[in-house]
Symmetry: C2
Subunit: 676 residues, 2 copies
Amino acid sequence: MDIEQILAPYRAKVKEQGDIVRKLKSEQADEYEIKKAVTDLKACKHQLEEKEAELAPKNPVFDRTKLEDLLKQRFFFDHSFSIYGGVQGLYDFGPMGCALKNNMLTIWRQLFVVEEQLLEVDCSMLTPEQVLQVSGHVERFTDFMVKDLKTGECFRADHLIEGFLEGKLHNKKTAEAEKVEINKILPVLDNMGVHELQDIITRYGIKSPITNNDLSEPQQFNLMFPTSIGPTGHYKGYLRPETAQGIFVNFPRLLQFNQGRIPFGVAQIGSSFRNEISPRSGLLRVREFTMAEIEYFVDPAEKDTFHKYDRVKDYSLKLYSACDQMDGRSPHSMRVHDAVTQKIIANETLAYFMVRIHQFLVKVGVDPERLRFRQHLSNEMAHYACDCWDAECHTSYGWVECVGCADRSCFDLTQHAKATGARMVAEKLLSEPKMVEVCECVPNKAELGKEFKGEAKAIMAKLAGLSLEEARDLKQRLEKDQEETLAVGEKQFRIQASLVKFKEGVEKVHVEEIVPNVIEPSFGIGRIMYAVLEHNFNIREGDEARTYLTLPAVIAPYKCSLLPLSGKEEFTPFIKQLSEQLAKLGVQHKIDESSGSIGRRYARTDQIAIPFGVTIDFDTVNKKPHTATLRERDTMRQIRAEIDQLPQLIHDLVEGKITWTETLKQFPEFKEQETA
Amino acid sequence: MDIEQILAPYRAKVKEQGDIVRKLKSEQADEYEIKKAVTDLKACKHQLEEKEAELAPKNPVFDRTKLEDLLKQRFFFDHSFSIYGGVQGLYDFGPMGCALKNNMLTIWRQLFVVEEQLLEVDCSMLTPEQVLQVSGHVERFTDFMVKDLKTGECFRADHLIEGFLEGKLHNKKTAEAEKVEINKILPVLDNMGVHELQDIITRYGIKSPITNNDLSEPQQFNLMFPTSIGPTGHYKGYLRPETAQGIFVNFPRLLQFNQGRIPFGVAQIGSSFRNEISPRSGLLRVREFTMAEIEYFVDPAEKDTFHKYDRVKDYSLKLYSACDQMDGRSPHSMRVHDAVTQKIIANETLAYFMVRIHQFLVKVGVDPERLRFRQHLSNEMAHYACDCWDAECHTSYGWVECVGCADRSCFDLTQHAKATGARMVAEKLLSEPKMVEVCECVPNKAELGKEFKGEAKAIMAKLAGLSLEEARDLKQRLEKDQEETLAVGEKQFRIQASLVKFKEGVEKVHVEEIVPNVIEPSFGIGRIMYAVLEHNFNIREGDEARTYLTLPAVIAPYKCSLLPLSGKEEFTPFIKQLSEQLAKLGVQHKIDESSGSIGRRYARTDQIAIPFGVTIDFDTVNKKPHTATLRERDTMRQIRAEIDQLPQLIHDLVEGKITWTETLKQFPEFKEQETA
């Protein structure tokens, strides 16, 4: 029976429920009713997805334990501080993981910073509390946790309930009716509030899975790491939860750097922190991680056109729109321009970056067949976003969000402007000048300085930034009471009428002020890395023990191995010469002088994804011109070339200036056994 | 009068006092007496250095305020969160600073990771308290602070006293005798304990410089940022104060990665944190900073020979040895091999890395004339070091430590091994096998697992790591009492005699275990960056306002500017074509289409150190073949070349494949005025 036939009723059910949600929304029905309908919709979607996964062809090769063994044993990454027992959610990248990550970041910089002419910045991780209050993170960057009432052990509430319910679901004794109920709960767990979570814990009598003790009520836990800056202990700060805020608070300087013009993009690569309640799934949910974020500032009226859009409009992306999700349809490939025209992707700017994200992911080794863009449903969106597409990679953990591409509108700039009085706007030339009323507050600088000293600058900035209404209001109040309280940041100041004057009138203006919108592609480097490793993990046919990684040469930690046939001294000068030449060309390589057959050593280098290997043998030493073999990892085929040609050839292969297929044509193939 | 003649008596006084210290040490005199003599020695040194600085030829051009204006205005770096009033000691790097830093790190990776074949790792910044207790940082990574008794404001005690005493020193009313006294105190302030500091505060009646209120007694303040990991709030951690510990705790994995062999080196680039009491001096003393550290693990018996030493032995370094400092001599240039032979530099390994540090610093733009290596006096050394040379750069703040090169001996590996029972040793093949007594503790794995579950692994590791004496001791005690307490990390376990057996006898061994020593070159990237900026800051002759930076092309943020002569549309296609070709070659560049004369725009690009600039003019558009001018920043000379040749030419100039002098010979010079 055709898979689609089996899935048809599941799809129909989603569509039916999706229509109900749409209808309720269009009728502006009661919020509770909409929420309930969305819950049911998600349950239907969940069943459809489970069925799809069940019917999907299985990848027969992949065995996660084997991959994990390889990654640990060859030190791609491993738990931090494990000689001290380790810390959950913290990982150290060993030489292989670190090189892989650096190579990914180099490509990222080339594709985005260089080719898109972005302004890269590097901002502090330590962040004062006030900034994160304004950005909404102090209030909203939280998860619910429950505590074991006796041991104090903490669990993330939704994960705990999920584990419990999934156990029940797979228990044959559970009644069908209960299973239906559970299937409705599971997909909406992550949006539940404290009372809903408590209800479920009570209803199912959920206890601690470790001790079976009773659990506390769910309580909000802020996921930021707190610290205190400076010696007094009174200046609270956090480790940043995202790199974005560092860019937003620097907006005025960056705009000035760009000579006042928008659009422009800013990039930042750096660490962010998230104090997960119970980290799990290896690199996918960790407490310290590298992000690469772009904030592209654009005139909201001009999001619809992007200057390089023409280059990407015929590109195809696999899209899973909110609409598809509500209609029970599968994701499907679509020409970008069709998606923009049909308003599936909101605008050209967003579309352009989605294509660039796709190009980056494929270049670093993500399998395009296991990559899709999923649009957030409106109730999934972060507090700052108004539209969001996630680039998701399929792994053995399911679909994993690796890159988010959100339209944060003007949320952040507006918030910071409100809190500080800073001018978070760009100026836009009007097509024709217009007359506007003005009320400008002119401070008496000398007097203000005398009165407020170090604070005077901030007060003047605040006064200069007053809107027409605010300035008029202040003027009136000063006329009435002769003094007035002014809030600047968190402080309050008493301003005497004598300290300021007001200039009122009508002015001709040539520019208008706009608060730019922000399109934000945000890359989770660790997650991408894990997806790439899974997508490139292989086992040689006929030899279960020979695992290897087919990473693209451009991100492989080492590009080349140098193998002397044996430990004999006569090979050393050749190895040394090649090593130095490769180093000068910037080609990372590894000398493996260990004993063991060449075949065994190739197997070892295949494990760490070294794409090319040079073997120095007796012919190298004894015959002139000196030659050596060059082997490629994926085909395991070898050629023979003069030793002086090899460094440049390897360099060009790594840089993609020549392909392996072309190389095979240009040089004689070497057919002796690897174990020879 | 010759400078050296003036300095002679100062030098003599240092030498005299240095000899006293040496004598006391050789006689193993009372510790207090030695300390007092060292204090006097430092005072003499201080006077000598002050005199030297006074007599040194002044750099007539340098004006720090102008440099700071440039760095702020063109956003190299600036205070973080300044729209919120800023946070002391935190800086954001703007597009120019970030690119400069990235370029420096790329060169660092090429020189060290690639050319020295180091293993680069990337470890967690969040670090559990226990690790930093073992490394000594919880106890010893502290400064003394005093508090304003009324406002609670905190000051770093030594800096506060220093400021006060320097004020007194420059006050004409201060008696000469008191000045002599003060000159003795100043140079030893940073080594003083709580009582000494308190004595000075009392003696001089020092108050808060802000409020004139009384001050608290000095108290130790730990400079690490504390946080809490996980949701319970009971697992204390810190932000790492150095990247080194991440490498040490991974030593067993790294040794395995290197197939069990030493020597090998490990590198890490990353952020470290230091909660300064009162940060100052811009980038030189900050709370969050990038380090690049190398830990080179070496057999202590083999430090004296280094496999690549021959390449550096004829290199000259300006050395300021501990001996020179005690004898009142100036630093002087010396051939490395002479320094090693005379035991001024302790061993070849240390010497090799000092040369590589020198090469790196000069390559990124440090002026070799303002660079010296100063050896620590024995009482200045960090708690973990047994020898240390600092690469110091001279700036307007004086001599600044930019790179430390310390011999940490086996301090850290030994500490972590003791605390965890992990095997922090390498095996070394004996020249001939020897017979040794053994007492091996063989645990009953099944029983031990049943009894201790998750803890069993750590217990077995501990048992396996017992020394001969420890194992014998345990055996005896178990025979006597049938059970015994075993400490594993911070926990205690009761071990029954039935859980273990002992294998005693004599064994022939072919290897011995050694704890490697560690040579640690540690680079403060921000400090180097600041020194480079100061060393490369210039003002055009005859025009005070035209400041510019002569950064080497290889680290310049942008390599090339593209300037259309005016805003006319006909120039656009040429700019676009060049921009794309440069981007593909990975050449960072900046298009400046702003209005303003070419001369003015060149001045702007000179400020951000862009070494090359291409101008598109009417000849470019109207004549065939299309040509454009290429200008070099430092000489301000220009050539004319075909537009198709330019991208590769610029690429080669930046990479150093061709020099500007050669370029001037190959292409016709373009002599029209910049302002044409």
